[in-house]
Subunit: 135 residues, 2 copies
Amino acid sequence: MNGRFQIAVHIMTLLTVSEGEQLSSDYIAGSINANAALIRKELSNLRKHNLVSSKEGKAGGYTLAKPAQQITMAQIYQAVKQDSILGEARNAPNPACAVGKNINKHMAAINTGIDDLINKKLGMQSLADFSKQFQ
Amino acid sequence: MNGRFQIAVHIMTLLTVSEGEQLSSDYIAGSINANAALIRKELSNLRKHNLVSSKEGKAGGYTLAKPAQQITMAQIYQAVKQDSILGEARNAPNPACAVGKNINKHMAAINTGIDDLINKKLGMQSLADFSKQFQ
DNA sequence: TTGTACTGTAATAAAAATAGTTACAGATGA
DNA sequence: TCATCTGTAACTATTTTTATTACAGTACAA
């Protein structure tokens, strides 16, 4: 989810700074220097999370779904994150070992603890706050 | 760094639980269900960070470099982490764009803020605390 | 009603990151 | 001097991420 948060924040910042104007995926991709279809995919995800709205057809494009004051960085983070931050085991550890048997559970506790913390921290900053830095 | 933190914590927990006994990389790999050479690579890194000591030769193996009470989960995290959590841009964004030009700097600020938070949180839990859960 | 400029999405390819493997030199103790 | 272990490099395989291409569908406007 590394690069995706970066991209999502970049997108959201562009939409904030351009104040309601419809931006095309091509334009956004140009600023990010990434592929337009990829950007549309992320925009699609952000729309699913009610952070952007889109308009098809000529003169279509993307805008914020609501004022930047009402969007927190945590919401963007949530929209993008899919896996835990510090990771779960990819190989089932050995269940015959007292440590292996329980490590996933205890790692999960660490992960959710940290994730809560991140959400709390990012929840304190609105997209409007963040975007102000670019003016 | 996802899977590596999991592996490193697993290793450190095994070494804690086995109370000073030398463990071989083979034994550790068996509990984690991973490759022994891979585990040795991570052990090598943990040693570099003064968290484990190793002994070569027959009857060799690995032990904690210091008591588990004196090791925090944050130290393990630090030993393993190499990149930022939420990511920096992989493509240089467009420098001709006010947002693209500055996004990396501002994302970096978010990243270090979160990293500090993680360190603070993980710094509150010792390896001894964590390992108690497995007894 | 037709052309143009967009979104939406799937299929696929390329690239990068991660994990796993093999191999073997060197250390150490029995 | 043999057996058992670490240390590390070189390499391969796998998985994940990112990029590309392609095209159907929508909306506006002349």
